[in-house]
């Protein structure tokens, strides 16, 4: 797949504070890319740089393989800001048509585009209410819609699901799915790792202003925690000597280990415990996940 957006060696300092220190990655056509990183990693700065709102000290940004001028960038690329950037006293319809016109939708097309957006966001029945009374999730969807009326080819979303309940989050990802189906390429930043795991095709992890890993989920896992599953056995009483490769906790009542093949190795493990005269109270098997990979890469747990 071809890259629609290419960032190479992006650097930016605010005074002594280096927000971006040589970040490089690419966004491919029609993909949904997750940009992950702890607080202050430089995600927002990176998005603002791509949108032309932050001037890089060094590095290149290419859209469809070229350094484009401002006008083409505005046409091709849109950003959904982290804050809800809407006019609270205006109705959903007025917000949409206002920002649509400002983003270059022609007067003859604006009605159709607004009608499409209202339908797409599921806000058609509340279209003419001032949005001040809308719920957080509704405003999030509208915030998203206000950025796409002019049909950009690339959409960058800065935490589109922050403060939104799981159901609304589903809604938002369904909306994004429709955009992809229409040919758009998307990048989201998020602090919900499950979301990135479940919904995004590729993941870029950034820390201290540079990319520490990127790839599909299995690729990332392979690079970091590997494919081994973590097994935790809880016993009815302490077991003095555990099997080889196991670590104990709680004075020998809890044992941790890693195994590659659950079906083949787990029965043997249980048998050895029973042979030692103990009974297994609980077994927990965890597949390697993004959380583990993330901690391995950044040394930090990710929280919203």
């Amino acid at each position: 797949m071809t890259a629609v957006l290419n960032i190479r060696n992006a650097r930016k300092s605010f005074g002594a504070n280096q927000a971006l220190s040589g970040a490089s990655f690419e966004l491919r056509e029609r993909e949904l890319l997750a940009l992950l990183g702890p607080n202050g990693a430089g995600k927002t700065t990176l998005i603002r740089a791509i949108a032309g709102r932050v001037r890089l000290d060094d590095g290149e940004i290419e859209i469809f393989g070229e350094k484009v001028d401002e006008a083409s960038r505005r046409r091709l690329l849109a950003v959904v800001p982290q804050e809800l950037a809407l006019y609270g006293l205006l109705t959903a319809r007025e917000n949409l048509s206002g920002f649509g016109r400002l983003n270059g939708v022609s007067p003859e097309h604006i009605r159709d585009k607004v009608a499409w957006a209202l339908d797409w966001t599921g806000l058609a029945d509340r279209a003419d209410e001032p949005i001040g009374s809308f719920s957080g999730g509704m405003k999030r969807r509208l915030n998203l819609a206000c950025s796409v009326l002019h049909e950009p080819k690339i959409l960058l979303l800065d935490e589109p699901t922050v403060g939104v309940d799981p159901q609304s989050r589903e809604n938002i990802y369904d909306m994004l799915g429709k955009l992809r189906a229409g040919g758009m390429s998307l990048m989201v930043t998020t602090h919900h790792l499950e979301e990135a795991e479940a919904r995004c095709e590729r993941i870029v992890i950034i820390d201290h202003g540079s990319v520490v890993a990127s790839g599909t989920l299995p690729e990332l896992l392979e690079k970091t925690v590997g494919h081994l599953r973590a097994v935790t056995l809880t016993l009815d009483r302490p077991m003095p000597n555990g099997p080889a490769g196991c670590e104990s906790a709680d004075h020998g009542r809890v044992w941790h280990t890693k195994i590659a093949d659950v079906a083949a190795e787990l029965p043997g493990l249980i048998q050895r415990v029973q042979a030692a005269g103990c009974r297994v109270e609980n077994i927990e098997v965890r597949s390697p996940n993004l959380q583990a990979a993330f901690i391995a890469l950044t040394g930090k747990a990710l929280r919203e």
């Binding site: 605010f14 949108a51 032309g52 709102r53 932050v54 001037r55 006008a71 505005r74 849109a78 950003v79 800001p81 982290q82 804050e83 809800l84 950037a85 809407l86 006019y87 609270g88 920002f99 400002l102 983003n103 270059g104 206000c146 950025s147």
Partner: protein
């Protein structure tokens, strides 16, 4: 409980510079401004009134009365001025009746005194036989004519006792009341009159030499009678409701400034809400955004002033319709400049709270100095000059030229050019200050 809460509030105030300024500094500043306006600069003296004098009589009596008038602390006599519509360095010429009238009409000063021919012959004119003095007044300043009138009576009574007595005796004799002086009495009287005259003249000389002659007498305080003065309202006479033009303009300009800064605050609101970020990523750009906001604010301002003046016309008899062209010109340039001012202040401030605090201080100060609260004519000269450094001063001068002085439109050029220039400066500043929101 209460103690804790009090401590929290106090700590918050201590950390908030702006709130501190508002609480403690602003009242002191305002108190000082108003103290200055009403002339008590610490020594308790009222500011002197500038009075143009035209002596058409040129008699010994008129000269003496005017000289005595000139010695009064409360008055500063102006006898010469540069001719109208001439360059500032043109030599001064004595003021005549026509020039005096134009000076009052133009607002150069609030009062002018004309001593007509033959006036001295009849002084002191208890019987109101001779011609009256004329006091040309700009009634937008009610204090100056009153003060002048009072001082005039005072110097007449106290400054010319010899003339008073002479005239009194003559009247008594000529009244045929059977009262007649003997030769001896007449001689004594003549001696006394000579003494009075020489002491009055000595007072004139002393005053000329710089020592302050205390010439006030008890009679002067009682006022009225010795001089007949006709007050001529050279500006407001034919207006149905003269004062209203004054206050309409003053209030309009002050509120315009408040409206404009509040509306300018929408820029900060957008920055806080994030809509600014969204707007800046559209084709509009910062310059376009600022110009649009400014245009909007100025339009709101025009509507606001129009509503107020129309209301004034309908309810209070303000003569709007007959001054429409001047009104349109002044309203447009004033709203444009006020809009620029609002943008400038909004881009300067970091938050809406800061904007509110700073705009209150700046607008109230400018309004006080610029004459929106108390007409500038009431203020001492120094403060009147200071008023020209305010936005209100220029805007009000323009509105007053239209509604009060009824000058031809072209004479608005100084006010219009200053306000247009201010607009440009404000917008340029706002554009520079707005850079902080642009690409970083």
């Amino acid at each position: 409980m209460i103690g804790t809460l009090l401590r929290i509030q106090w700590t918050r105030l201590r950390r908030d510079r702006v709130a501190q300024t508002l609480t403690f500094v602003v009242p002191v500043v305002f108190f000082s401004i108003f103290a200055l306006i009403f002339g008590t600069t610490g020594n308790g003296k009222t500011p002197s009134i500038r009075l143009a004098v035209v002596d058409e009589d040129r008699s010994a009596v008129s000269k003496r009365v005017l000289a005595a008038l000139g010695r009064e602390d409360g008055l500063k006599l102006i006898r010469e001025a540069i001719p109208r519509n001439s360059a500032p360095n043109t030599p001064r010429v004595p003021i005549d009746r026509e020039r005096a009238t134009s000076m009052v009409q133009d607002g150069d000063l609030a009062v002018a005194l004309i001593v007509p021919k033959e006036w001295g012959k009849y002084f002191p004119d208890f019987g109101q036989e001779g011609p009256e003095m004329e006091l040309l007044a700009d009634t937008s300043n009610p204090v100056a004519p009153q003060m002048t009138f009072g001082l005039l009576q005072k110097v007449a009574m106290g400054g010319s006792p010899d003339l008073m007595m002479e005239k009194g005796l003559k009247q008594m004799e000529s009244a045929g009341s059977g009262f007649e002086l003997s030769t001896k009495q007449r001689e004594q009287m003549t001696t006394m009159l000579q003494q009075l005259r020489s002491s009055a003249e000595a007072a004139d000389k002393e005053a000329a030499a710089g020592t302050n002659a205390a010439s006030a007498s008890v009679a002067a305080e009682q006022g009225g009678g010795a001089i007949n003065v006709k007050k001529v309202d050279v500006l407001g006479a034919k207006k149905t409701n003269p004062a209203i033009a004054f206050y309409a303009a003053g209030i309009a300009v002050m509120f315009l400034l408040f409206t404009c800064t509040a509306t300018g605050g929408s820029l900060l609101e957008e920055a806080e809400d994030g809509t600014l970020e969204r707007l800046l990523s559209t084709r509009l750009g910062m310059t376009g955004l600022l110009m649009t906001k400014w245009l909007y604010i100025a339009l709101v301002g025009v509507v606001q002033i129009t509503v107020m003046f129309v209301w004034g016309a309908l309810v209070f008899g303000l003569e709007l319709w007959s001054h429409l062209p001047g009104f349109i010109i002044m309203t447009t340039v004033t709203a444009a400049a006020a809009g620029g001012f609002g943008m400038c202040l909004a881009t300067f401030c970091r938050s809406r709270g800061q904007l509110n605090a700073i705009s209150n201080i700046v607008i109230l100060t400018m309004s006080a100095l610029g004459g929106s609260m108390v007409p500038r004519a009431f203020m001492p000269e120094g403060l009147q000059k200071a008023g020209l450094f305010t936005f209100n001063g220029w805007a009000l001068d323009g509105f007053l030229k239209v509604f009060w002085r009824e000058r031809p439109l072209w004479e608005l050029w100084p006010q219009v050019s200053v306000l247009v220039a201010l607009t440009a400066v404000f917008l340029w500043l706002a554009r520079r200050l707005a850079r902080r929101w642009e690409t970083v």
